[in-house]
Amino acid sequence: MAGVATGGIYALVAVGFVLVWQTSQAINFAQGEFVMLPAFLVLAAMKLGLALPAALAAGFALSLLVLGLLFKRVVVDPILRHGVLPLVISTLGLSLFLKESVKEFYAAEAQAFPAVWADTNLTVGEAVVSAQSLVIIAVAVAAVGLLQWFLAGTRTGRQMQASAQNPTLARVLGIPVERMILYTFLVNAALVALASFLVSPIYLAKFTNGETLGLAAFVAAIVGGFNQVRGAIVGGLLLGLADNFVAAYWSAQYRAAIPLFLLIAVILWRPQGLLGRAEERTV
């Protein structure tokens, strides 16, 4: 169960990562730090005297503003025309910037983060399941389900998909492509904020949290298939399960190396990802 819960969080982060990649070809190396930051926004809001629900709402709204709108306008837009590599470097700079800012202006030590749900254990038959894992799984499933419905079932969602698959044609059809790209950045910000609120009560809020989470999101995206939202979900779950099984039954020391082995295995046997379609190479 803990594996599925971890996987659910990885999946949330990976889905956001894939969405941004699909619409703007931006590989966000700061994705992990994006998960780290919202928890600190909430903590800061609580320090100002807000109650937990209000602080969560404020943190969520601020995340949308900073990690969605500002990230696109200030960081991605000016650089994207220079190509992929400068953007990779720039998001590396951004991750350093976010990490060090939190360390400098908030705290270098791990901070306790209030859980919305009390951490009790439920006994279902023989198995003991932590309530927190169940909540995480429920929220992750709800979020991903909602997103799938939004992308496939609403007009805006389908316009977003069209913009991702073929921006030129979408523009010809009168879809405001720029705004659709902005929407995917906002969806990404919402997903990472959600992941942040779910993961921080377990692992505590610390400025270095992003390092492992970011890598997990990349690997989940590649394992599942870079061009598929469903792929990212499967990749996230698989990585979460593998992570927990290896830590429990084999070697906790090499837990952080699981992504590498999964990554190389997938690249060697199925380079387009488990659910991905092969892309043609272009000149």
Binding site: V75, H82, L94, L96, Y254, L260, P271
Partner: protein, 306 residues
């Protein structure tokens, strides 16, 4: 103009350490070592266009090779040979799966490889002594001339840097180097012109990694105490930033980038934690306005003044 500037810099590099305190000499030596690793990465990234986030791990492999061999009484040159060959082979193996697919996959493979190397260095205590690190790494003696003092070791590093720079200068002008650039500019066209793209890409990656190993061999006797955290992902990212900040694909880029990255923190020490925040912001600004790095910026400024 360029020749005069070059002569001044060389004179400074040779003359300055006589006027510096040991810590200043240490920083200059560190600059030389980091410049070697950055030259290697520049070959991979700047000339062949392959992004690597594991250059710091190759420095780590080199450093541990040097530490383990020299504390057992082997001479340093044996460490150079071992580290270069080991990094070359690992670089080749690592690039092999990644190049089956699009080029940004190499970034993720190298990223997770950097994590793996760190874990091995930390966990395999029988070999690397884990978090306790390895201390008492001796400095080399060459044909009776001892490089024990900071000054002598600095000149040793400088000499190796000059050798590496000369070899790279020759390499990028050789048919191999031309093939590397052809790969970066347009891999498909290079392929159709008869360049074996896969082999050359792997070669660029492997040679770049080998230079990382060489830098590591110098790093170990320079600091004389190594432990795993020195070679975690941060070092790799730092080296990548050095190359990009200096100017990827420019021959002098790594020298400048290494100088910025090694010396600037010392000058900005008064700002403490703010330094890294400012550095992150500066990198973003540089990429937004001049993705070809400081040398690209200088070139542009030069054109304006003409």
């Amino acid at each position: 103009m360029k020749k005069i500037l070059f002569a001044i810099v060389v004179c400074l590099l040779i003359g300055a350490p006589f006027a510096l305190k040991p810590y200043g000499i240490y920083l200059l030596s560190l600059w030389a070592v980091m410049a070697i690793a950055a030259i290697g990465l520049n070959l991979t990234l700047g000339y062949a266009g392959q992004i690597s986030l594991a250059q710091g791990s190759f420095v780590g492999i080199g450093a541990y090779a040097a530490a383990l061999l020299t504390t057992q009484g082997w001479p340093l040159w044996s460490a150079f040979v071992l580290a270069a060959l080991l990094s070359l082979a690992i670089g080749w193996l690592l690039g092999y799966p990644a190049l089956r697919v699009q080029h940004h996959y190499l970034a993720f493979v190298t990223l997770s490889f950097a994590t793996l190397v760190f874990l091995v260095l930390r966990n395999e205590e029988w070999l690397t002594k884990g978090v306790y690190g390895i201390s008492g790494i001796p400095r080399p003696t060459l044909a009776g001339w001892s490089a024990k003092s900071p000054l002598a070791f600095y000149f040793f590093c400088l000499a190796i840097l000059a050798l590496v720079a000369a070899a790279t200068w020759w390499l990028v002008r050789s048919p191999w180097g031309r093939a590397f650039t052809a790969l970066r500019e347009n891999a498909v066209r290079a392929d159709s012109l008869g360049v074996d793209t896969r082999r050359y890409t792997l070669m660029a990656f492997a040679i770049g990694s080998a230079l990382g190993g060489v830098a590591g061999v110098l790093y170990a006797p320079l600091v004389q105490f190594i432990e795993p955290t020195a070679f975690n992902l941060n070092l790799s990212l730092n080296l990548l930033l050095m190359v990009m900040v200096g100017g990827a694909g420019h021959f002098l880029g790594p020298f400048l980038g290494a100088a910025v990255s090694v010396l600037l923190p010392e000058w900005l020490r008064f700002s403490e934690g703010l330094y890294l925040i400012l550095y992150g912001a500066a990198v973003m600004l540089l990429m937004a306005f001049c993705p070809s790095g400081l040398l690209g910026l200088a070139e542009r400024a030069g054109r304006v003044f003409k």
